[in-house]
């Protein structure tokens, strides 16, 4: 099983906070075949990624299978201060989930 990890970097530039997140996930499309057995590899992908700042949703991402393996996501928002925490969580089509927090620097 892949490690459920999210690496987050949040940085202030003026009044804009830029958040970059890297998740580890196989993101299987369900279209690929196992070369040895010829069987289809079942789909396994992140469906929803949510980022919260002070309990408010900043962004909700709905993803399909077209997102690359070990997904990367970056976005910008205003209204945060240095030292605030942002929380990012995801859940996938198999009901697995993970979340992580980071301080804005």
């Amino acid at each position: 099983m892949a490690k459920k990890k999210i690496r987050i970097r949040a940085k202030m530039k003026g009044d804009v906070t830029e958040v970059k997140a890297l998740m580890s996930h196989p993101m299987e499309t369900g279209l690929r075949k196992n070369k040895k057995t010829g069987e289809k590899i079942p789909a396994h992908f992140i469906q929803e990624v949510t980022c919260e700042h002070k309990g408010k949703q900043v962004i909700v991402a709905h993803w399909g299978v077209a997102i690359s393996k070990n997904p990367y996501l970056a976005f910008k928002f205003t209204g945060a201060a240095k030292g605030d925490t942002v929380k990012i969580s995801w859940n996938d089509n198999k009901g697995e989930s993970a979340s992580a927090e980071a301080k804005i620097g």
């Binding site: 804009v16 399909g64 970056a74």
Partner: protein
Amino acid sequence: MKRRSFLKGTVASSMLGAAASAGLLTPQSVLAAWPKAAFEAKTVDGGMEAALGSSSVSESGDIKIKAPDIAENGAVVPITISTSIPDVDAIAVFIEKNPVPIACSYDLGATTKGFVSCRVKMGKTSDLIAVVRSGGKLYSAKKMVKVTIGGCGG
């Protein structure tokens, strides 16, 4: 007598199966916000309608798509969508020639800038369509990305 107990057994096991499938369905109902129909649509218009509520878009010069002109590896194509349109509440990305055209859709909060960046898979050379929703209207921009090695299949 034997037959009867056999029947009883099958009824019980089929009920178990029903219970298991019901249990399996629960996590999906939690994800009700995930627009399932959009990610099953096989056309750009169908996906757009399911994800953003409409498929009537107007092209806009205020949306910038940053993506490579030629992607050597279709499995990882970095894209960045940024726009100067104010009050953007949703951004979606479509890849016309993918089996499922919608790649991702983002719901943005009130303080979130019109900017997202992610990495997508592209099966073959295709148009990349970015759609931005602001004030109930849809705006789009296109960019052609050439793919030398596809990112789907294997």
